[in-house]
C-alpha cells in the first residue's frame, strides 16, 4: 500500500532537510559583525544586571529548553576564567524579553561579544567555537 504522493513528499522533505542541515551546520555559531553597523547596539551593566568586563563581556542568551546552551556556558565560562578582564554573563531569555527584542535574538544560544564600553562587536546564533570567541575577545579589546 504505497501512497505515491506521500513517497514523493517524503523524498522531497528528506532532501530539503539535508540541505538545510548542511547549510546550518556551516553557519551555526559563526561570529559575525555586530549587526546594524558596528557599535549601533550597546548595553549597560545596569541592563545586563552584571558588571562589564574590562576587556570584553560575553553575553549569552539561554533558555531552559535549549539543548546546546550548557555546552556554550561551559565554553564561555572557561574563556572568562582563563582570560583576565573578560566576563561571562548569562541571560535567561524568557525573563528578559526586553533585551531579547533589542538584540533581535531569535534562537538560543545567542552570544554577543561586547567591548569595554558595552558595544556589540560580534554576535553568534548557535554555539560558537573557542577559537572564534578568542578572536572576538581580541577584537573587542582592540576597540
Amino acid at each position: 500500500m504505497i501512497d505515491p504522493t506521500g513517497l514523493v513528499v517524503a523524498a522531497a522533505v528528506l532532501a530539503a532537510a539535508t540541505l538545510f542541515g548542511l547549510v546550518r551546520a556551516r553557519r551555526d555559531g559563526r561570529l559575525r559583525d555586530g549587526g546594524r553597523g558596528r557599535g549601533a547596539l550597546r548595553f549597560s551593566s545596569g541592563e545586563l544586571g552584571a558588571d562589564l568586563g574590562e576587556r570584553a563581556t560575553l553575553v549569552q542568551f539561554s533558555t531552559a529548553l535549549c539543548a546546546t546552551c550548557p555546552g556554550t556556558r561551559r565554553l564561555l565560562a572557561g574563556v572568562a576564567a582563563a582570560t583576565p578582564g573578560v566576563r561571562h554573563v548569562e541571560i535567561d531569555a524568557e525573563a528578559r524579553l526586553d533585551l531579547v527584542r533589542r538584540a533581535e535574538v531569535m534562537r538560543t544560544p545567542t552570544v554577543l561579544v561586547l567591548d569595554p564600553a558595552g558595544r556589540v562587536v560580534r554576535r553568534a546564533s548557535g554555539p560558537p567555537s573557542r577559537a572564534d570567541v578568542m578572536a572576538a575577545v581580541e577584537l573587542a579589546t582592540a576597540g
Partner: protein
Amino acid sequence: MPDRSPRVPVHVDPRGPRFAAVLTTLVLVLALATGSGVLLAAQAVVFALGAVLGLRRSPYGWLYRRLVRPRLGPPRELEDERPPRFAQGVGLAFAVLGAAGYLSGAGWLGVAATAAAVAAAFLNAAFGYCLGCEAYLLAVRGRARLGQG
C-alpha cells in the same frame, strides 16, 4: 521515591534521544510513504509517553537502554532532559494532527503534518539539531507579544 521537583532537572545520556530520533524518522517516513494513519497514531502514542512520563519511559528509550547502551561506553556527558522532552511534545502535536487527517479522510492534512514531523525528526537524527527546541523561544516571544497587545 522519585524526585518530581522541576527544580532538579533529570539528566539523560544524549545518545538516547538521538537513537530515538533515528527510529522516529524511520517510522514517520514509513507512515508518510504508505499513508498509514494507524502507524502515525502509534508514533503519537510513543511521543506522548516520552513527553508525559519522560524519555526513559518512552519505548524507544527502553530499546536504547536494553539493546544499544550495553554495546557503547559510558556517555562523556549527560544532558538536561527538558529540551528533548519538549520536542517530543511538539512531535506529538504534529503526529496527532496527521493521524486525524489520515483517519478522517483529509489526506492532505495527514501528508502535510507528517512531512513536518519527518523534517524535524530527521534533522535531529542526522545533525543533532532540535527544531522543537529552537521554536521554543519564538513561541515565548510570540506569547509575550500577544499578552501586550
